[in-house]
Amino acid sequence: MGDIFDGLDVEAYDRKYSDAQLVRRIFKYFANQKQRIGIVTATVTVNAIVDTMRPIIISQGINIIIAATSPVPLIGLVIGFYIASCASWGTNYVRRRAAGRAIGDIVRDLRNDAFAAAVSRDMSFYDEFSSGKIVSRITSDTQEFAQVVVLITDLISQIIMVFILMAILVLTEWHLALILALLSPTVILAALAFRRVARSASQQASRVLANVNSMISESITGINVAKNFRQEGAIYNQFDGVNRQAYQINLRRGFVLSLIFPTLNTLAGIIMATLLYFGAGSAVSGAISVGAWYLFIQSVWYIWDPLTSVASFWSQFQAGLASAERVFALIDAPAAVVQSDEQPVSELRGEIEFDQVRFQYSDQEVVLPGLDLHIAPGETVAFVGHTGAGKSSIARLVARFYEFQGGNLRIDDRDIRTFDLAAYRRHLGIVSQVPFLFAGTVADNIRYARPEASDADIWAMAHRIGDGEWLDTLPGGLETQVGERGARLSMGQRQLVSLTRVLVQNPSIFILDEATASIDPFTESQIQQALNIILSKSTSILIAHRLSTVKSADRIVVLRKGAIIEEGNHESLLMQGGHYAELYNTYFRHQSLEYIEAARR
């Protein structure tokens, strides 16, 4: 009950849909399932009718028994009861099968649409919204929506039954029916009151559970520290306190929840006793038959279930609609990067031209006020500058991950906005600061940007780096499983895999955001080898963090606040004694051989 509020955090791309809009959107997904929906509707109705038949048959039976006439109609009633029971089960069976298929398909469609929408968003969208929440919209919110649909079909069946039954009761004797109708809402009120109390108790419980979990998580993660310093006892005592507190709060919640069904049951008993008493009067006076009296008392049970369901179901229904709303908000989020055309890009020389490009991330200060930069085909340019100087932004604009606000960006003299993006990006090789690998083998990852590459190509490329020595350190060579997000490989190995991926791709433009993570010197020298091969073949944009990378560039571009203030090679820039010299002293000095030699203790 407490998880009603889970995952309800509001994101900026959320929008409010009117109920009518929402229903229309949902309805569109149901439209593909017309036949199944028809089956479900038909079986739900039949099911409700035959279920109502059963208590009526028994009440008729009692009338006939008391009247003590011929036994023949009784045999008919018994047979009728068997048929109703089988029909009830049978319609339920058909209904659930059809509903299962319809819901399965609808959820799949919804998920595919949501994922397709997420994939087509540009990177500014992902900067703003955590990937965990996007994922939960695509899988969990759609799931919740599906559960609500299941519940709705169950509930509709029960509600139809309640209406049929109530109609029959009213026709039989409206006074008694009125008593029943007046008493029934107490159930709903009681159930709703409990929900309120239970909700606050559950919120407390989930908060304390979070405490326990983070306590355990922290001490298990830091167990080596605790053991090295022999502090197990202190940690245990702290845990013990939290654990006891959790017990107290959970017990309180349990007590509240324990109250619900006893109370509801007692209420049902009281209503039944009331009907027994007043019904007896009507039966004696002859207003109703004894069988009808029986039917009234029985109907308490039949009305009971749907009413408690409605009460506990209401908020689930709301949550389901909210889920649907969140999924649609994801699907409808506007795109920032918009292409004006979809021109094919068959071949690229790799010439890049920034012409007065102005760029800022949404609502933040301007990163590039008006950049002019020309990079010749095959040139290797290293960008240096403090954090926020605009190095990464330049690379991201070339990759067309973001939209710029002014000026022009031309690749091979063509406006980048006119490209078919997928075709254009096939000519880009990108290695990000934290290289990302997908679960699968090393070979799968090397092949990622170029699925048609042969095993022989991959083997050959992988062996061009350090004679393939790096593959020896992997337990299964190229067939090693890298684990989720490449977790089983070291940072250095991940770099090597993603560089090999670029080697196999053989792109016209290479973008490297160099890792700042520390990599062992042996792997480092292999990375350098791989880089040298790529740099010799492509136009390269380097966001350099290592001295050796800076030195290997044809041109070093020094950035400050989004403007180019110096250009040249390492020696000449250092000689100038300007901003580059300052950057060198800040970021690169400790990587030089002189520094290493001077470090003697």
Partner: protein, 605 residues
Amino acid sequence: MALPASASEFVVAQRYDYNYRSPIRWVASHVLRYKPLLVSLVVGAWGNAACAFAVPALIGVGFNAIIQPVPNLNTVSLCAILIIVSQIVRGSLMLSRNFSAEMVAQRIERDTRDELYADLLGKSMTFHSMQPVGEIMARTTNDVHELNLMFNPGINLVIGSAMFLFFPLFTAPTIHPQLILTPALFIIGYGLSLKFYSSLLRPATEAVRDRFGDMNARLAEAIDGIETVKGASQEKQELANFDRGATAYRNAFVRQSDIEARFIPLLLMGIAEGTAFLHSILLYRAGGINVGNIIAYMGSIQMFHFPTWISLFGFSNISLGLAAAQRILKLINTRTELDENKDGRTARISGAVRFEGITFGYKEETPILHDISFEAEPGQTVAIVGQTGAGKSTLVKLINRTYDPGAGRILVDGVDVRDWSLESLRSQISIIEQDIFLFSRTVGENIAFGLPGATQAQIEQAARDAQAHDFIMNFKDGYQTVVGERGVTLSGGQRQRLALARAFLTDPRILILDDSTSAIDSATEDQIQRAIQRATKGRTTFLITHRLSQIRWADQIVVLRKGRIAARGTHEELLRTSEPYRRIFDTENTLEPIEQDEIELQPGR
């Protein structure tokens, strides 16, 4: 009985003895701690059913009173009053049943979590390094909660609904002996069909869960790596991938709902009601029972509704709970090799460390270290270098017995580490791990972690020595700043210097520094260099480092390659003898790139 307590690095005083022989016995030994609550649970469940069955019986009496030639309304009002009273009694008995169950369930969760936690603290690092944190978290949070749910609602509902199932066996014969027939047949049919149903449903539900997990994992990866997906323009491929996952889930979901659609006990319930109706009519016509009896009997047959629906949850809760118990027990019963060795050698370490023919693997069949032998003199600094996976971190962790070697031995001051008291050995060896772990406490508390009584002056001195004092004072709250999830985020270099301060405070004789940080700027690098230099002074130090300046000036350099010593000596010696070593000092990048175009691929499409 207390199997796992035999070899442990940490034991809680006054623990309750549980039975660890099988999951059922273990759960039972937990449950049986609270006998009075169990009694109150069973009494409540029985009384609840008794009061529930009073309703149809009383209604039957009421009907008989009305269909008499002279209707007796007083009997009816008495029946109505009795129903109200019985239902109030029933409510309170049900409450006491529910609450007893809840209390036992919550205590089981509390007790097992406590038991498991204490046990985990006692396990050796060999155990912990083999066990992913996520897995342990799943045991201590989800599985322990499954045990709670197994008792309530699980066992509570099964006991409660069993009463409803068996009650008609006793009430029906009081109306007429023959009437036992329908309830008896129903119970048999119900039991068989439920067993069949759940044997079908369980694998189907598992499949649904697995497919969901697969779909979700791949999706999460694609979203996290969206930049890579876009950069390689593989959106179409990922969409196809996701569709495959979503379709696999859809098929599993449909299979499950097909099985659920075929819930046989529901059909049996309808047939039982019809048969009960038929049977009671026949008995009535034979003159065996009256109309009130028919109504009472039909009413008690209807009570089967409750067990028909409810027990399904109950049984699945119990089987989930037992599976969780099994997983937890497996963890608890894992033997751990190290123990405290309280009677071992206790002495001040001078710092001579000698590795003799060390072979080690986390699993014995796949050793990571092969036949390692070398020696460090007191006060020496040994740099251990090599590629990732060469075994560097594992090697140094053998010194403080984080792990014990499979073959060979390690001598500290000429004494096998296994003959040292664990307390004495570990308190004089400090390890600073690659992933530096700080607790979500204040900076000061983190530094004082190994020496809980340390004064502020001592803490500050340690921080100064580690070059950490300045950046700590730059925080608004200084030493009172909380770090970690709920506090400030520290850079790798800052974490490392805090860890160094933590180590300085305990003044270890042997320091092991597994250093994988990299300074982004030279000023930070200067400070880290100074801190490490200060740390190595006057103690034996093992440095696992990527810092060329540290490797360059170590007293001894050990180059590991795939778990073996590939080269050993001073910097000058290695420059002469080792080609790979020479290559790493080629930071000016003078190596020729490999000849071009020996393999040429087609340019991208």
